[in-house]
């Protein structure tokens, strides 16, 4: 029996309880919808246009940098697990690996793409 079965059960229970709470609220709460109630709340001002406003490309840049470093750390986890038994050679490899990526970060930084504005 894989321990993942219990993770699956956790997922199931983790779904059941909030769903239960929301369903209970749905059953108990009054339902009297009207159009005014259902407008979106934007500080009392009439909504203009739709919600898909123009976004800064910066969001993308940050997500991009994140993605790269995320994958990097994924590579580093097996390395970290075996570090104690592999000795200095593995440490140097890992450090080279990190340094190469730090070069990427430095590039991004130098090009001023980590600035929000």
């Amino acid at each position: 029996m894989s321990s993942w079965v219990y993770v699956g059960l956790f997922l199931l229970v983790g779904l059941i309880i909030p769903v239960g709470a929301i369903v209970a609220a749905w059953a108990l709460s009054p339902k009297k919808p009207n159009p005014i109630k259902q407008t979106t709340y934007e500080c009392g001002i009439e909504t203009v246009g739709d919600s898909w406003v123009q976004f800064k490309a910066q969001y993308y840049i940050f997500a991009l940098v994140f993605l790269i470093f995320d994958v990097e750390t994924v590579f580093l986890f097996p390395w970290a697990v075996k570090l104690n038994s592999l000795g200095m050679f593995a440490v140097i490899e890992g450090i080279i690996f990190i340094l190469i990526l730090v070069v990427g970060l430095a590039y991004t930084w130098r090009k001023g793409m980590l600035e929000w504005v």
């Binding site: 490309a57 993605l67 590579f75």
Partner: protein
């Protein structure tokens, strides 16, 4: 016990769905979504072959991890290109981006 062939056929179907997406979607982002599906199907295969081959030989998982890195690289550059094209040409429809023709 699940037979190996189930995994292989599952991944074949996933691959074909991704392929269909790549060949038929108009939107560039959607094409990249299809590519992600294809890469995932490859990973399923790699993991399945690892599980059903020699378990102590971890090569299948190593390859899968490399595929993760490749997928990350592919998607970041691919989407960056899409965004760049969108800025210049104001479209992300694949058929409208045909500057490479005569």
């Amino acid at each position: 016990m699940v037979p190996l062939s189930w995994y292989l056929i599952f991944s074949a179907i996933l691959f074909s769905i991704g392929l269909f997406g790549v060949l038929s979607r108009r939107n560039l982002v959607a094409i990249l979504l299809g590519i992600e599906l294809m890469l995932n199907s490859v990973n399923v295969n790699l993991a399945a072959f690892w599980r059903y081959g020699t378990v102590t030989n971890i090569t299948g998982q190593v390859f899968a991890i490399i595929v993760f890195a490749v997928a990350a690289a592919e998607v970041s550059v691919g989407l960056a290109l899409v965004i760049s094209v969108y800025r210049k040409r104001n479209t992300v429809i694949a058929d409208e981006i045909d500057m490479l023709k005569f």
